[in-house]
Amino acid sequence: MQRVGVFICWCGTNISNTVNIDEVMTAVENMPGVAYSKDYQYMCSEIGQNLVKDTIKEHNLNRIVVASCSPRMHESTFRKAAEAAGLNPYLLEIANIREHCSWVHKDKEAATQKAISLTRAAVAKAILNDELIPGEVGVERRALVIGGGIAGIQTALDIADAGYEVDLVEKTPSIGGKMAQLDKTFPTLDCSACILTPKMVDASMSSKINLYTYSEVEEVSGFVGNFEVAIRQKARSVDMEKCTGCGICLAKCPIKTALSEFEEGLSNRPAIYTPFPQAVPNVPVIDRETCMKFRTGRCGVCEKVCPTKAVDYDQKDQILNKKYGAIIVTTGYDLIDLDYFGEYQYMDHPDVITGLEFERLVNAAGPTGGKLIRPSDKKKPKKVVFIQCVGSRDKSDRGKSYCSKICCMYTAKHAMLLKDKYPDSEAYVFYIDVRTAGKGFEEFQRRAVENYGVNYIKGMVGKIFPTNNKLQVNGVDSLSGEILQIDADMVVLAAATKAKPEADDVARMLSISTDSDSFFSEAHPKLRPVETHCAGIYLAGACQGPKDIPETVAQASAAAVKAIGVLSKSKLVNNPCVSEVDKSICSGCLACADMCPYEAISEKIVEEKANGKIVGRRVAEVNETLCQGCGGCTVTCRPGAIDLKGFSNKQILAEVDAICR
């Protein structure tokens, strides 16, 4: 005889404002199987949980239904409470009367009736719940970090520091990411390279960290604790072991005209190149698209000049297959394309640049050696206009509807860097709003205004009209209503940030989700900010949403802790909601095995007596450690021999019946 206890949560007023708790209580008391029911203001609080625990014992309850918020929120909380009271945690069901009821309905009567209906369904299901015992599975105690920017580097260092092996996969020839391209960092104005390069070196020197640069993750399968990953190491055409990084090949390469990706196209690089002098590893790659040897078969200079014979034109891509316990995604961001913002002349005038290009132009190691000059005529700019929100907070098809978060701060930084270099120059910043939420951020921006005399103009720029040697910027000061026309020497655009173009593919490969802007979705916007919905896969940095360096690093360390949490366990418990085969009615057709995406179902020969003889009969068998519990096989099964524990046919039909009553 099942004795169901039903606990109804008010969630303060979140539920009780729209759902008449008393009416639900009365209805629940009359539901078949319900032995006890109780409502409370905050069921998830300690008192609420104790209430559940105590009444389980007191009233000898053997099935529990909690009508409260989404099971995605507190199912595990209440399962733990049930377990503490000596009940198998899988005997508990949640009725979602907050997210699916009180928060989406206004009519109290209708919401109350729906809450009753949902609770009735949960009770009907709970009555059919069975005790489930999770299996155990071993953990591959190694982590994979995808993306070698500051987020990836920090995560890898933290995991390595805890004593676990980490593989760091980076698509470009060097780790460092966007941060390596920056000149100074806000709000302290310390040099980006000075704080980043030591970390890059640490990562390469760590015995626990394996760097796979110029590599891409190609395939991911498996699950938490046991991911199987294929990594493509692209052919570098240079032997990593033999190369000493002397750089002779770079100097001798006859091709000098490829655009440097690292310098944002502001300078050229040879066909054999390292992205920047402090690259880690300091081993060049040959860009086969531009290399003469690869294009025409003639040349071979680099091979001839290499003192260690490291150049290898025949090198091929290699696929590495490795296993990992946890994966951290740190793939970063890009700036949007400005092709459709013709009014800013970015595509048509060399003196209109992006913020990232400005970073390179002021950087001592940049294309101008740190001399801030106009790209067109190499002259000192006297008047520089900075335009914020180029494509940010823009819901038209040209831009992104979100705030890019970093531009207000870096624009203030750029204006100060300009004034530092040329105190007699003028800086104008067009903004919609200045957003400086962050420690020391407001003070930093005010310093630009108060100490540096940067002109902040609340308003936008309509269009830039290039005249013979100036950029005539037509704008407005919306506070005073003054129409402005500024003859600028240079314009810097704070282009919106966007997710990497490959983000959707990465998400698909990892079975994690993205938001509508292709940023990866965290499991909970507040309480699980670095986890994904896929156990064992974590996020850090701007691949999850626009972020500055301090936030990225904090998130990276948080993701590392989460990963270490997995790696430090010798065994992980499995999801016990897996498929099981009733061998007595299985016909052995194995349609289920064909369908299973995890290859968790295989054939088994069972011996049984038929006409006095022992004969073998083919049936299907589920490997419980491989089964992930999707339940797809249950539908393929013609005799109906496979069922899914925790979501059995009977249970779901009971829910349907209860709802349709």
Binding site: Y340, G342, E343, Q345, K463, I464, F465, P466, T467
Partner: protein, 266 residues
Amino acid sequence: MNYSYYPGCTLKTKARDLEESALNSAQALGVNLVEQEEWQCCGAVYPLASDEIATKLSSVRSLVAAHEKGEKLVTLCSACHQVIKRVNHDMKTKEDIRDKVNNYLQLKEDYQGESKVIHYLELLRDDIGFEALAKKVKVSLEGRKIAAYYGCLLLRPKEIMEFDDPERPTVLEDFLECLGANVINYPYKTECCGGYLSIDKEKVVQKMVNNIISSALEQGAKEIVTACPLCKYNLENSSLYNKEDISISYFTELLAEALDVDVKED
């Protein structure tokens, strides 16, 4: 190839040069622009109010006529082009307008925006192709410093006009280039000339057209081409306008000239 051709009011009166040069050059290119029967004035401006249906009817009549003949509908005047294209877009995408218009017109078959409306420039670019056009040029415009003036109606709104990038269009420049001209680029080419404001806001229009002409002059242009009679009128009323310094003509006039087609002088 046959096209339905919609002339519009001004091309039969003040802008006869635009029509004649276009029709004659089309003939030279083997394109037959057949004037629609009993076309009505499009209204010159697209009715922006959602509750105005009557002012869209004349455009629909032309669209339906072109649809019945199974021909693309070609326009020459920028204003007509915008009005007819936008009305067609409404018929295609806005159910309430479509229902009301069809109820009113009582056609044999409901019209649902099937016709394709193209500007003569689109015909040259997409149907004939500028490369093919370049081969037919008899008198190259080599050495002539010509600036293209788009104005507003051809380009915006871009999702409906689907004509060219509204901020950095190239179709007129590409066109001039294939006639052999020395194309002058200047940033005011997409700025509005003032349009109908010249009726009683002449001062406002003066400033607008002066900006355009001085920018073109600064970049060294000697000629400006346009596709719109009102643009031409406004530009020629600029205080900076002077036939010796800068002449303003329709793009079709240059086309006729390059193809060595006779155009009657008025």
